[in-house]
Symmetry: C2
Subunit: 187 residues, 2 copies
């Protein structure tokens, strides 16, 4: 198992996110949002396990009013473990798309509903492309590459949807002539 939640946390720490709260932001809005996700229920237990294994250190900072901040830092052993995990054979990408699954049943919907779905889907990827732009300044080479790749990929995917949607919409009206004619012309 190459990339469990402990490895993901080590990566976030190496990238400069040093509290549980910050790590979650890195996966929610930050540089990792495009290709990984991680929630509190995984992060806090993972940090405790990493601490027990000596792969991270923790210094508590008392703050005015706010709850104490636990600032974590990756150790040299941690960085070695991260490097080792990244070199193991990696599982291939897995996409979970409710939009695509819904579109697989376009024949069960009205053409108007399908068109709205396609609009929302393409727009979502255009918005995501913009979100990917605003990340940290001067990232390492790998993350610079991923920003460019992610932005172009999202825009290209949106364009691909817009390119092929006409064929789908034509297929649907061809199957349901009543819609094409605008009135009940029979089947």
């Amino acid at each position: 198992m190459p990339l469990d939640s402990k490895t993901l946390c080590l990566g976030a720490l190496d990238a400069g996110y040093n509290t549980g709260y910050d790590i979650r932001k890195a996966f929610e809005d930050g540089p990792f949002q495009l290709y990984q996700s991680l929630s509190y229920g995984s992060i806090y237990p993972a940090l405790n396990a990493l601490l027990a294994d000596g792969l991270v250190t923790c210094t508590e900072q008392a703050q005015d009013g706010r709850p104490d901040k636990k600032v974590y830092a990756i150790t040299e052993a941690g960085r070695t473990a991260l490097r080792a995990a990244l070199l193991q054979p990696l599982g291939f990408d897995r996409l979970r798309s409710e939009f695509m699954f819904a579109l697989a049943f376009a024949h069960l919907m009205s053409p108007g509903q399908v068109s709205r779905l396609l609009d929302d889907y393409a727009r979502g990827y255009r918005e995501l492309a913009e979100d990917l732009a605003c990340t940290d300044a001067d990232p390492p080479p790998g993350r610079r590459f991923l920003v460019r790749l992610g932005q172009e990929g999202c825009l290209t995917w949106a364009r691909c949807v817009e390119k092929h949607r006409a064929a789908l919409e034509a297929d649907l009206t061809a199957r349901d002539p009543a819609v094409a004619a605008g009135a009940g012309t029979g089947d």
Copy 2:
């Protein structure tokens, strides 16, 4: 929650996959492999729940030697439930990519390791594009659209990786001049 495992099973049944074993294949190698996944641990309980709710029917077929086959069929109520679930607001696509996460830490690897990662990554998408071609004959409009979209999307993504990789590899050697000069190239 729009697309839980019960909804996914209803969809697979509507698409003509009518046993638990078959449904899994639809998500493993079949038309849904690109955008959803579902395992036995979800499928069998979901089918039981759907049966209890009257959204599917089940007829047991005794077979020579082999265990009895439970053939499920979606009911009209089931198709209505499927339609209703697909029209609820859908969550946006979520990608889980171990390759991209690993590449985010390219600065922790040797250039050779990064190059191999990029090779494997692009090749994986080219192979996936081929796998997507062999699906069932004469699919409904939505799935025809998704096949075209999926194939073009995978190929485009592979090309996008290959287009941007040179910049990454240049960045990495610029950071580590020893590698550029050819001295002590540890792999």
